[in-house]
């Protein structure tokens, strides 16, 4: 039986320079999987491939038993309602308040009217401890607050109606996080970590997190995949990683600039 999400031998190059060279990774349902590696190694590219924001050059990507890498833009909407993504720059719309931002998918996918959607949006912002800022604009808030609001917005997407049997909520079954704690102060970062963990444990969401923040990685990950030189170098639990004798793993987790890792560009 194949995995819930799977990248099979994916290749991707930008302007002739290869980034992913046969990357393969399998994700089980309900787990929190971290994808780690140095800057530019292709982590963000990997998750963007999953929802079709970038096309792959070769290989296959599978989700829930179906192949998804060759879907045309028009057919990607159902996929994107099941797999949500929280971007690094949180991508909230500057011209709308937080409540309006979260209300947007509720209106478009949940078919709610504007007033009802705003109410529901405030409720969801409360779930991420942001309800007192619901009427403020993204530009007025700190990065950590924007991140939380963005998570609330991503969770507001989903097929209309109540949760399907076996699902704990009607939002996306999978959420991708692109560097959720980068640039945040340590307290906010741990809050985000806790939020991600809660999503997995209480709502059954599968979380795939791109990160290079060791406290996050070692704190909430079920499994960790290290991307190096275009392929998945190793996939292991945090405990296994910490105990690993592999010098490359050691260098990354220890955060050392000297070591066997090649970092192109430095």
């Amino acid at each position: 039986m194949s995995a819930y999400i799977e990248w099979r031998d994916v290749h991707k190059a930008f302007a002739g320079k290869p980034v992913l060279r046969g990357m393969s990774l399998a994700v089980t349902k309900g787990e929190v999987l971290f994808i780690i590696g140095t800057s530019g190694v292709g982590k963000s590219v990997t998750i963007k491939h999953l929802i079709g924001l970038l096309p792959i050059d070769a290989g296959e990507i599978w989700f829930d038993g179906e192949r998804v890498d060759e879907l045309p833009e028009r057919k990607l909407a159902p996929l994107r309602r099941r797999i949500g993504m929280v971007f690094q720059s949180s991508t909230l719309f500057d011209s709308m308040t937080l409540a309006e931002n979260v209300a947007l998918p509720l209106r478009k996918h949940g078919g709610m009217r504007h007033a009802a959607a705003l109410d529901e949006a405030r409720r969801r912002l409360a779930q991420v401890y942001m309800e007192e800022h619901a009427e403020r604009y993204p530009a007025e808030l700190s990065d950590g607050m924007r991140k939380r609001a963005a998570i609330a917005r991503t969770l507001a997407v989903g097929p209309a109606g109540p949760a399907k049997p076996g699902q704990l909520h009607s939002g996306p079954e999978v959420v991708l996080f692109d560097e959720p704690t980068t640039g945040l102060d340590p307290v906010s970062a741990r809050r985000i970590d806790r939020l991600i963990r809660e999503l997995a444990t209480s709502l059954g969401v599968t979380a795939i997190v791109v990160s290079h923040d060791p406290p996050s990685i070692l704190g909430i990950a079920d499994r960790v995949a290290l991307l190096y030189q275009g392929v998945v170098h190793v996939v292991a639990t945090p405990a296994e990683l910490r105990a690993s004798a592999d010098p490359i793993v050691q260098q990354f987790i220890g955060g050392q600039s000297a070591g066997p890792m090649e970092t192109p560009g430095f």
């Binding site: 929802i51 924001l53 909407a77 994107r80 971007f87 998918p105 478009k108 917005r153 991503t154 997407v157």
Partner: protein
């Protein structure tokens, strides 16, 4: 020499690519209109924003343009003693050509450029990808309301601007050439037909479409950070200006 030819070739290819891209975006926009499910909130928001911004500058421009036309044609007409035709000279040019073109150019500079800047900034800050990730079609949500708002606004502005320009023509005629108000008014009424007015309005519909599509296209296809945004705005206004001139040419010949 060969380099020059290569440059021309490269330039032509780039223009072809842009034209192709705009055509594709136009197709996507049209398809999103059938069935017409537009985000009304976005539409209203844009109508308000674009109208608000552009009315002052269009009114001022139209006033001066009308005055200019009188300055050009007035003395000539006066010398011939045919002051009754003063309004005709200025008015005809204003309604059919100067009005729609100048107003469209000003609109492109004010609203079109601003729109490109907004969309480009959204693209650069990944907000557009964010929309896609929320399974919301950016064309339907962002582009279509703006295109509709721009077309409606330009027509409204052209109508208002035409009237202001005729007023400006009269004011200048009176103040600088001592042509009586009533003379101007009568020469407008006698020599200008409703069709002349409509001719300008038809043109403004076409201009509006050209400005809107060009503005949105360069906004969403921007690449690079702040520099890219500036370049996108530049490209959008230039493309709009060329389209306006070309469309004016074809429409004039086709509809007489």
């Amino acid at each position: 020499m060969r380099q020059a030819v290569a440059n021309v070739g490269a330039g032509a290819l780039r223009v072809a690519e842009e034209v192709g891209g705009i055509v594709i975006l136009t197709g996507q926009t049209l398809r999103a209109l059938v069935p017409p499910r537009v985000d009304t909130r976005e539409l209203v928001k844009n109508l308000y924003k674009m109208g608000n911004r552009s009315v002052p500058i269009v009114v001022l421009t139209a006033f001066f343009a009308g005055g200019l036309m009188t300055l050009q044609t007035g003395p000539f007409v006066k010398k011939l003693g045919a002051t009754a035709l003063a309004g005709w000279g200025a008015g005809y040019a204003v309604l059919r050509e100067i009005g729609p073109i100048l107003i469209a150019l000003m609109f492109s500079g004010r609203v079109g450029a601003n729109n490109t800047a907004e969309l480009a900034t959204m693209t650069v800050t990944e907000q557009l990808d964010g929309l896609r990730a929320l399974a919301i079609d950016p064309v339907r949500f962002l582009v279509v309301p703006r295109v509709l708002a721009m077309m409606v606004m330009l027509v409204a502005l052209t109508v208002i601007g035409d009237l202001v320009a005729l007023t400006g023509a009269s004011v200048v005629g009176h103040a600088m050439l001592d042509i009586e108000w009533s003379t101007m008014f009568h020469s407008f009424a006698d020599n200008l037909r409703p069709y002349d007015f409509l001719h300008g309005v038809y043109k403004s519909i076409a201009f509006g479409a050209a400005i809107a599509m060009s503005s949105c296209y360069f906004g969403v296809t921007v690449r690079g950070g702040a520099v890219g945004v500036g370049r996108a705005v530049n490209a959008a206004v230039v493309a709009a200006a060329v389209s306006i001139m070309l469309l004016d040419f074809f429409l004039t010949y086709l509809t007489g």
